[in-house]
Protein backbone atom coordinates (compact mmCIF):
# COMPACT_ATOMS: atom_id res chain seq x y z
CA UNK A 1 0.00 0.00 0.00
CA UNK A 2 1.40 3.40 -0.99
CA UNK A 3 -1.30 5.65 0.48
CA UNK A 4 -3.10 5.32 3.81
CA UNK A 5 -4.55 8.54 5.12
CA UNK A 6 -7.74 10.14 6.42
CA UNK A 7 -9.25 13.60 6.12
CA UNK A 8 -12.15 15.19 7.98
CA UNK A 9 -14.73 17.10 5.92
CA UNK A 10 -16.64 19.82 7.79
CA UNK A 11 -19.60 21.98 6.81
CA UNK A 12 -17.23 24.97 6.71
CA UNK A 13 -15.07 23.11 4.15
CA UNK A 14 -18.14 22.61 1.96
CA UNK A 15 -19.03 26.32 2.10
CA UNK A 16 -15.44 27.23 1.16
CA UNK A 17 -15.49 24.65 -1.62
CA UNK A 18 -18.85 25.88 -2.96
CA UNK A 19 -17.41 29.39 -3.21
CA UNK A 20 -14.15 28.21 -4.79
CA UNK A 21 -15.74 25.83 -7.29
CA UNK A 22 -18.94 27.73 -8.08
CA UNK A 23 -21.10 24.70 -7.21
CA UNK A 24 -23.67 26.32 -4.94
CA UNK A 25 -26.18 23.46 -4.95
CA UNK A 26 -27.86 23.91 -1.52
CA UNK A 27 -27.84 20.14 -0.77
CA UNK A 28 -24.14 20.65 0.08
CA UNK A 29 -24.79 23.38 2.63
CA UNK A 30 -28.37 23.36 3.87
CA UNK A 31 -30.01 20.54 5.83
CA UNK A 32 -33.54 21.44 4.72
CA UNK A 33 -32.56 21.46 1.05
CA UNK A 34 -30.77 18.12 1.45
CA UNK A 35 -33.78 16.54 3.18
CA UNK A 36 -36.16 17.94 0.55
CA UNK A 37 -34.01 16.12 -2.04
CA UNK A 38 -34.48 12.85 -0.14
CA UNK A 39 -31.04 12.82 1.50
CA UNK A 40 -30.49 12.08 5.22
CA UNK A 41 -28.50 15.30 5.76
CA UNK A 42 -26.07 17.65 3.99
CA UNK A 43 -23.75 15.72 1.67
CA UNK A 44 -20.27 16.65 0.45
CA UNK A 45 -19.81 17.62 -3.19
CA UNK A 46 -18.65 14.45 -4.95
CA UNK A 47 -15.95 16.66 -6.42
CA UNK A 48 -14.79 17.55 -2.90
CA UNK A 49 -14.14 13.90 -2.10
CA UNK A 50 -12.51 13.45 -5.50
CA UNK A 51 -10.32 16.47 -4.69
CA UNK A 52 -9.22 14.85 -1.42
CA UNK A 53 -8.21 11.80 -3.45
CA UNK A 54 -6.06 14.05 -5.65
CA UNK A 55 -4.55 15.61 -2.52
CA UNK A 56 -3.58 12.16 -1.21
CA UNK A 57 -2.14 11.14 -4.59
CA UNK A 58 0.02 14.23 -4.95
CA UNK A 59 1.20 13.98 -1.33
CA UNK A 60 2.48 10.49 -2.17
CA UNK A 61 3.96 11.56 -5.51
CA UNK A 62 5.80 14.48 -3.92
CA UNK A 63 4.67 16.76 -6.72
CA UNK A 64 1.36 18.59 -6.92
CA UNK A 65 1.07 18.37 -10.70
CA UNK A 66 1.87 14.64 -10.88
CA UNK A 67 -1.65 13.53 -11.90
CA UNK A 68 -2.10 13.06 -15.64
CA UNK A 69 -5.38 11.23 -15.63
CA UNK A 70 -7.96 10.74 -12.89
CA UNK A 71 -11.33 8.95 -13.07
CA UNK A 72 -13.88 8.24 -10.35
CA UNK A 73 -17.39 6.93 -9.98
CA UNK A 74 -19.43 8.40 -7.14
CA UNK A 75 -20.78 5.27 -5.47
CA UNK A 76 -22.34 6.72 -2.31
CA UNK A 77 -22.74 10.23 -0.90
CA UNK A 78 -20.60 11.40 2.03
CA UNK A 79 -23.03 12.65 4.68
CA UNK A 80 -21.55 15.57 6.63
CA UNK A 81 -23.20 16.23 10.01
CA UNK A 82 -23.16 19.77 11.45
CA UNK A 83 -21.12 18.63 14.46
CA UNK A 84 -17.74 17.03 13.92
CA UNK A 85 -18.00 16.52 10.17
CA UNK A 86 -17.25 13.28 8.34
CA UNK A 87 -14.04 11.30 8.14
CA UNK A 88 -12.98 10.00 4.74
CA UNK A 89 -10.31 7.31 4.66
CA UNK A 90 -8.16 6.93 1.55
CA UNK A 91 -5.84 4.05 0.75
CA UNK A 92 -4.04 3.47 -2.51
CA UNK A 93 -2.02 0.85 -4.28
CA UNK A 94 -0.17 0.59 -7.55
CA UNK A 95 -2.23 -1.34 -10.05
CA UNK A 96 0.15 -1.20 -12.97
CA UNK A 97 3.61 0.12 -13.84
CA UNK A 98 3.46 2.14 -17.07
CA UNK A 99 6.19 3.59 -19.29
CA UNK A 100 8.03 6.87 -18.69
CA UNK A 101 7.95 6.68 -14.89
CA UNK A 102 4.17 6.60 -14.72
CA UNK A 103 2.01 4.30 -12.61
CA UNK A 104 -1.67 3.52 -12.46
CA UNK A 105 -2.94 3.85 -8.89
CA UNK A 106 -6.16 2.41 -7.50
CA UNK A 107 -7.67 4.37 -4.61
CA UNK A 108 -10.09 2.96 -2.07
CA UNK A 109 -12.10 5.81 -0.56
CA UNK A 110 -14.47 5.04 2.30
CA UNK A 111 -16.63 6.87 4.83
CA UNK A 112 -18.02 4.94 7.79
CA UNK A 113 -16.68 1.73 6.25
CA UNK A 114 -18.60 2.17 2.98
CA UNK A 115 -16.96 2.85 -0.37
CA UNK A 116 -17.86 6.35 -1.55
CA UNK A 117 -15.69 6.49 -4.67
CA UNK A 118 -15.60 3.19 -6.54
CA UNK A 119 -13.71 2.78 -8.71
CA UNK A 120 -11.19 5.61 -8.34
CA UNK A 121 -8.14 5.36 -10.54
CA UNK A 122 -5.33 7.70 -11.57
CA UNK A 123 -2.25 7.80 -13.76
CA UNK A 124 0.48 9.48 -11.73
CA UNK A 125 4.16 10.36 -12.20
CA UNK A 126 6.09 8.30 -9.64
CA UNK A 127 8.07 10.04 -6.90
Amino acid sequence: MIIDTAYTITRADLVAYANASGDQNPIHQDELAAKAAGLPDVIAHGMYTMGLGARALTAWAGSEDAILEYTVRFAKPVVVPAEGGAEVRITGEIRKELEDGLVEVNLTVTCGGEKVLAPARATVRKP
Binding site: G51, L52, R55
Partner: protein
Amino acid sequence: MLNAAYVGRTLPATAPHVVTSAEVAAFRAALGMSAEGPAPATFLVSHTLPASDRLVDDPDFGLDFTRVLHREQRFAHARPVVPGDALTCTVHVESIKTVAGNDVLTTRTEVAAGDETVSTVWTTLFVRGDA
Protein backbone atom coordinates in the same frame (compact mmCIF):
# COMPACT_ATOMS: atom_id res chain seq x y z
CA MET B 1 -36.59 13.17 -20.06
CA LEU B 2 -33.59 14.59 -21.86
CA ASN B 3 -33.84 15.45 -25.53
CA ALA B 4 -31.81 12.70 -27.21
CA ALA B 5 -31.55 14.78 -30.38
CA TYR B 6 -28.76 16.70 -28.58
CA VAL B 7 -26.37 13.72 -28.69
CA GLY B 8 -23.40 14.66 -30.88
CA ARG B 9 -24.02 18.39 -30.49
CA THR B 10 -21.24 20.79 -29.59
CA LEU B 11 -21.88 24.06 -27.78
CA PRO B 12 -19.95 27.13 -28.96
CA ALA B 13 -16.67 27.60 -27.07
CA THR B 14 -16.96 29.80 -23.99
CA ALA B 15 -15.27 33.20 -23.91
CA PRO B 16 -11.70 32.93 -22.53
CA HIS B 17 -11.53 32.98 -18.73
CA VAL B 18 -8.17 33.98 -17.30
CA VAL B 19 -7.13 31.79 -14.36
CA THR B 20 -6.00 33.87 -11.38
CA SER B 21 -3.68 32.77 -8.61
CA ALA B 22 -6.41 33.83 -6.16
CA GLU B 23 -8.92 31.33 -7.57
CA VAL B 24 -6.33 28.54 -7.54
CA ALA B 25 -5.43 29.44 -3.93
CA ALA B 26 -9.10 29.42 -2.87
CA PHE B 27 -9.64 26.00 -4.46
CA ARG B 28 -6.53 24.60 -2.77
CA ALA B 29 -7.46 26.09 0.61
CA ALA B 30 -10.99 24.62 0.43
CA LEU B 31 -9.42 21.17 0.04
CA GLY B 32 -7.19 21.78 3.07
CA MET B 33 -4.04 22.39 1.04
CA SER B 34 -1.61 25.29 1.46
CA ALA B 35 -2.72 28.25 -0.67
CA GLU B 36 0.59 28.35 -2.59
CA GLY B 37 1.01 25.80 -5.34
CA PRO B 38 -0.35 24.52 -8.63
CA ALA B 39 -3.99 24.00 -9.57
CA PRO B 40 -5.25 20.66 -8.18
CA ALA B 41 -6.15 17.91 -10.66
CA THR B 42 -9.87 18.61 -10.14
CA PHE B 43 -9.61 22.42 -10.40
CA LEU B 44 -11.02 22.63 -13.91
CA VAL B 45 -14.48 21.63 -12.69
CA SER B 46 -14.80 25.30 -11.69
CA HIS B 47 -14.61 26.08 -15.43
CA THR B 48 -16.41 23.09 -16.95
CA LEU B 49 -19.44 23.30 -14.63
CA PRO B 50 -20.38 26.87 -15.65
CA ALA B 51 -19.65 25.98 -19.29
CA SER B 52 -22.45 23.40 -19.06
CA ASP B 53 -24.94 25.92 -17.63
CA ARG B 54 -26.18 26.63 -21.13
CA LEU B 55 -27.46 23.04 -21.32
CA VAL B 56 -29.21 23.41 -17.95
CA ASP B 57 -30.75 26.71 -19.04
CA ASP B 58 -31.95 25.36 -22.41
CA PRO B 59 -35.66 24.39 -22.01
CA ASP B 60 -35.50 22.25 -25.17
CA PHE B 61 -32.85 20.02 -23.60
CA GLY B 62 -34.97 19.22 -20.52
CA LEU B 63 -32.29 18.91 -17.84
CA ASP B 64 -33.81 19.47 -14.38
CA PHE B 65 -30.86 20.04 -12.06
CA THR B 66 -32.92 19.26 -8.95
CA ARG B 67 -33.05 15.64 -10.19
CA VAL B 68 -29.35 15.31 -10.93
CA LEU B 69 -26.76 13.16 -9.20
CA HIS B 70 -23.13 13.30 -10.23
CA ARG B 71 -22.21 9.76 -11.22
CA GLU B 72 -18.74 9.82 -12.80
CA GLN B 73 -15.95 12.28 -13.44
CA ARG B 74 -12.77 12.00 -15.45
CA PHE B 75 -9.87 14.34 -16.20
CA ALA B 76 -7.11 13.78 -18.76
CA HIS B 77 -4.52 16.53 -18.42
CA ALA B 78 -2.20 17.43 -21.30
CA ARG B 79 -0.44 19.91 -19.01
CA PRO B 80 -1.00 21.60 -15.63
CA VAL B 81 -3.18 24.72 -15.44
CA VAL B 82 -1.21 27.81 -14.48
CA PRO B 83 -2.41 31.27 -13.45
CA GLY B 84 -2.59 33.50 -16.51
CA ASP B 85 -3.97 30.75 -18.74
CA ALA B 86 -6.89 32.12 -20.78
CA LEU B 87 -9.04 28.99 -20.93
CA THR B 88 -11.96 28.23 -23.19
CA CYS B 89 -14.35 25.31 -22.73
CA THR B 90 -16.03 23.48 -25.60
CA VAL B 91 -18.79 21.18 -24.37
CA HIS B 92 -19.83 18.13 -26.42
CA VAL B 93 -22.94 16.08 -25.61
CA GLU B 94 -21.35 12.65 -25.89
CA SER B 95 -24.17 10.28 -24.92
CA ILE B 96 -27.60 9.98 -23.34
CA LYS B 97 -28.70 6.56 -22.15
CA THR B 98 -32.12 5.86 -20.73
CA VAL B 99 -32.26 3.14 -18.07
CA ALA B 100 -35.58 2.28 -16.38
CA GLY B 101 -36.96 5.76 -16.98
CA ASN B 102 -33.83 7.57 -15.78
CA ASP B 103 -31.34 9.34 -18.02
CA VAL B 104 -27.56 9.07 -17.89
CA LEU B 105 -25.87 12.01 -19.61
CA THR B 106 -22.19 12.17 -20.49
CA THR B 107 -20.54 15.38 -21.65
CA ARG B 108 -16.97 15.85 -22.81
CA THR B 109 -15.43 19.28 -22.42
CA GLU B 110 -12.27 20.27 -24.23
CA VAL B 111 -10.37 22.88 -22.21
CA ALA B 112 -7.91 24.88 -24.29
CA ALA B 113 -5.58 27.86 -24.06
CA GLY B 114 -5.78 29.32 -27.56
CA ASP B 115 -5.05 26.39 -29.90
CA GLU B 116 -3.36 24.32 -27.18
CA THR B 117 -5.35 21.55 -25.50
CA VAL B 118 -4.91 21.76 -21.73
CA SER B 119 -7.33 19.04 -20.57
CA THR B 120 -10.23 16.89 -21.58
CA VAL B 121 -12.94 16.55 -18.92
CA TRP B 122 -15.78 14.03 -18.93
CA THR B 123 -18.81 14.41 -16.65
CA THR B 124 -21.55 11.80 -16.27
CA LEU B 125 -24.82 12.81 -14.61
CA PHE B 126 -27.65 10.57 -13.48
CA VAL B 127 -31.00 12.30 -14.00
CA ARG B 128 -33.85 10.77 -12.01
CA GLY B 129 -37.01 10.18 -14.06
CA ASP B 130 -40.62 10.79 -13.01
CA ALA B 131 -41.28 7.22 -11.84
